[in-house]
Symmetry: C2
Subunit: 521 residues, 2 copies
């Protein structure tokens, strides 16, 4: 899609107010003319780098000050954005409808660039479809409504000042103590966050400097990819076969600043890391002094009456695991309460970061949760939740088995967590599949979103706990039509990643993705 | 405080496990020996830069690979931290008690460096003193307890699914609509945040790239200084005399990426920007295409039955103001509900950033607030709150007047907001004053925290709404003793900033401050 530079550069001065001074106006016009001439036939996408001021000055035989003044004018008008030490970048011309060019004011790293594939995914993942199977939420039908209501009223009557006042950034001591005794850790190593997502973001902001390398699982939770990328990390993938040989080679080659893992009911694969591998991973991390971040949000969602192996944090003897969890996957995501268990030094660091971000997490739900945990009501809820989830898992597995029998997908039966991770058999046009599914009222989480580098397009994730059983079955059954409909007759396509060229070029630029996380938490 | 390099470098290998390989061990030892020799007599503070690998290699007549391997080993052990393209930095040896050297894993920009002055301030601002006057909280005695309880139970009975499920990052539509009609803006320009602090942090992360310049008022809310610094901004101060000539010169000289202002009941000064200046500021920002961030969290806390001038956002005709507010200063900070009003394009950008940070804000308090606003109960609460606050303001003014009469301080009577901004008359040892005040049970917010560059030490801020009238009066009266006690007899001290040399060196390094925000919100 080669466009002439004139249309690629959204610089036409007719879009903005007349220039204030004639001389500046002539300069800007001259610089634009020049850019149009030298770049004729090339397209600078939003986010693309413009020629350096020095180059333009040399080419035009004018002083660098002259070019700098012209670039100043362009930047102030929001047409380009400069980054100290990195050059000038094109802005996104999307907001021409606005009176002020805000897109030009957004920092290049924060800039949402056009991603038609991801926007399409977002559209398809919207939860207003009749059969939303994309987002990861526990069964809200199991929510202990009456217990919660009683606890809320108890807090409002007895502890309300604590919920209303400025509170410690580390969290309400009541809840830190409850989680500490419930999980068997020291209370001053527990820090309350606004969901696990905040924990991950704080860790990324604390541990990653731009250009640092982080090792993530492939596939993994899209939210961690976004946080690490936003902190400037370069991501290296470790396959969820969890080969320690592979990991050691990655560690030696890349010297990562952290390893992020979800060893129990991994999202999205549902896999469980063996005890032997856990011990090997801890040993490897100890030998190379690499911090381990353990995402353990699914630990309590085991489905066959038997919990998974002990967490890395429990097995850790060298204080090098930071543990992240949340009530979102075992109670309700709307409560926005998660927690971190970390060495005291890191609790302090993370709290300083959280203070900047939002001061502290709201008190009411913290105190209510402390009440539910202390009274044993929360454990009783978990027993019920697991029973219901097992029923839903069985229903999903039997419905999905029909797709397997039809030769359409493969999957493994999960022993915990909320998901089926499905692999499409053969070649399909994945975008059309998602579109077709949306048309018939079903959303699934597209596999692409779960990979850091090469986004394989032959996977999708189903959440089996979001809907009642009948709806769940119907939703999965409907996928049969969508999958059949989009089978490619043309077998020349590669089986690998499907990306538009624009998306590929964006990945190359290591720009941030505007991926709608809430669609596939 | 010059220390020999041996103790300044926390590299003694006795602190960590024996080295894995002999050769590496010898290399590390050799590099450390070398550092000790060439740096003899110098002190590398935590955060300080080590010699480049190239320099060490040249000095030692070994290959750069050899030095790189040694530095690798040092970094993995958490003794130094390298930043891509910037060199190697000393780590904070603070956590020697931990089994794993976490301080060495924290990104240099996120690192909390020792700041004895600020730690002391934090200690003195702790709210467990009998007369906490430092933190900014509205009168919680005015909290409409019964209305809130009714509304909570109504939401739990009628709208609870919306509060439990995954919700839009922009906020609950119910609350966006309520705020929109209550304040007269379009609902799709309203975005809900976890307090104003989150709004400010999201704006900093969206609009600032490292090295960018931002203009802030002097003095201003410490929270905005921290967010902008964390995003990498270099801060330029605009005095709260609000001279447009001064501002225009700053804009021309520094080409800032944004201007942050609190034009109504400015924190901490309580000042109100005139309508003429507001219009001039908007015109200036329009002419130079600079985004304006308006912090308007005190607008509804006017005290003399007459609201202040219209907000910049209301006067804005060019869509270049982003408006930030919160319920923390007019209801309760523990609710953690604030909002932003921004062009739709920016609501999208800020939501993408918030998605990474914490997905969305909890639903319960959003729906409760929508209920309170729609029923008119919130406006009724505000009438009551302002009456109580006016009584407290009058009490504080009359108590503080006694300190004025005693020749100890000066201040201006505020027409809104929660604060008295006091200037000490003459020279005092400010640190001793804070310590003395804490000893007799009073905390105030130290003026230093409110300045971005030169931290003037002759100011302090009192919050007059945090305590009941009697306690408020007593707290202020107690300051008389503290102020008298620390008057300096030695007049050779300059009247300007008081900084320890370490603090000064930290500022020079442009490192982040670990300031305990919650002490003086």
């Amino acid at each position: 899609m080669m466009k002439p530079i004139k249309s690629a550069l959204p610089l036409s001065l007719s879009h903005v107010e007349p220039l204030s001074g004639n001389q500046t106006g002539r300069l800007v016009a001259r610089v634009i003319d020049h850019l149009e001439t030298v770049l004729a036939g090339q397209t600078i996408q939003p986010g693309g780098r413009l020629p350096s001021e020095r180059t333009v000055a040399t080419d035009l035989h004018v002083s660098r000050n002259t070019v700098a003044a012209a670039y100043d004018e362009l930047e102030e008008r929001g047409l380009i954005r400069r980054m100290r030490g990195k050059g000038a970048f094109m802005c996104n011309p999307r907001d021409h409808g606005e009176l002020f060019s805000w897109s030009g004011k957004v920092s290049p790293t924060a800039h949402l660039l056009d991603e038609p594939v991801l926007e399409m995914l977002a559209r398809n993942c919207a939860s207003d479809v009749p059969y939303p199977l994309s987002a990861g939420t526990p069964s809200l039908a199991c929510f202990p409504h009456d217990m919660y209501k009683l606890a809320v009223n108890k807090v409002i009557s007895e502890d309300f000042p604590a919920a209303l006042a400025i509170a410690p950034t580390e969290g309400q001591n009541r809840l830190r103590n409850s989680i500490a005794s419930w999980t068997g850790v020291e209370a001053n190593r527990v820090m309350i966050t606004s969901g696990a997502q905040e924990g991950i973001d704080l860790l990324a902001r604390c541990l990653i400097a731009p250009g640092d390398i982080a090792i993530v699982e492939a596939p993994t939770y899209p939210g961690v990819l976004q946080c690490l990328r936003a902190a400037g990390a370069r991501l290296v993938e470790w396959s969820t076969d969890w080969s320690l040989e592979e990991l050691e080679q990655l560690v030696i080659r890349h010297r990562p600043k952290l390893i992020f893992t979800t060893p129990t009911y991994q999202n999205p694969t549902g896999r469980v890391m063996s005890i032997t591998t856990r011990e090997g991973l801890l040993d490897l991390a100890r030998r190379y002094y690499i911090p381990l971040i353990e995402d353990d949000v699914y630990a309590k969602t085991y489905l066959d009456q038997r919990p998974g192996p002990p967490s890395l944090a429990k097995l850790d003897r060298h204080s090098q695991v930071i543990y992240v969890s949340t009530f979102s996957k075992m109670l309700a995501p709307g409560l926005r309460i998660g927690w971190i268990v970390a060495p005291k030094y890191m609790v302090k660091q993370l709290s300083l970061m959280k203070m900047r971000a939002n001061l502290f997490t709201g008190g009411l739900n913290q105190l209510v949760l402390a009440n539910l945990i202390d009274s044993g009501n929360f454990d009783r809820h978990l027993v019920n939740l697991r029973q219901q989830h097992a029923v839903l898992r069985n229903a999903a597995v039997s419905s999905a088995q029909q797709l397997v029998d039809g030769g359409l997908i493969t999957f493994s039966r999960p022993a915990g967590g909320l998901y089926l991770w499905c692999k499409v058999v053969g070649r399909i046009d994945f975008e059309s599949f998602l579109e077709k599914a949306a048309e018939i009222g079903v959303s699934v989480a597209p596999g692409q979103a779960f990979f850091a580098t090469v986004p394989h397009s032959s996977f999708f994730r189903i959440c089996f706990t979001a809907l009642p059983e009948t709806q769940l079955r119907k939703g999965i059954e409907r996928l049969r039509g969508a999958l059949r409909n989009v089978r490619e007759t043309n077998h020349t396509h590669s089986h690998g990643p499907v990306l538009t060229s624009q998306m590929r070029s964006l990945r190359k630029q290591e720009t941030l993705k505007g991926q709608p996380l809430s669609a596939f938490l």
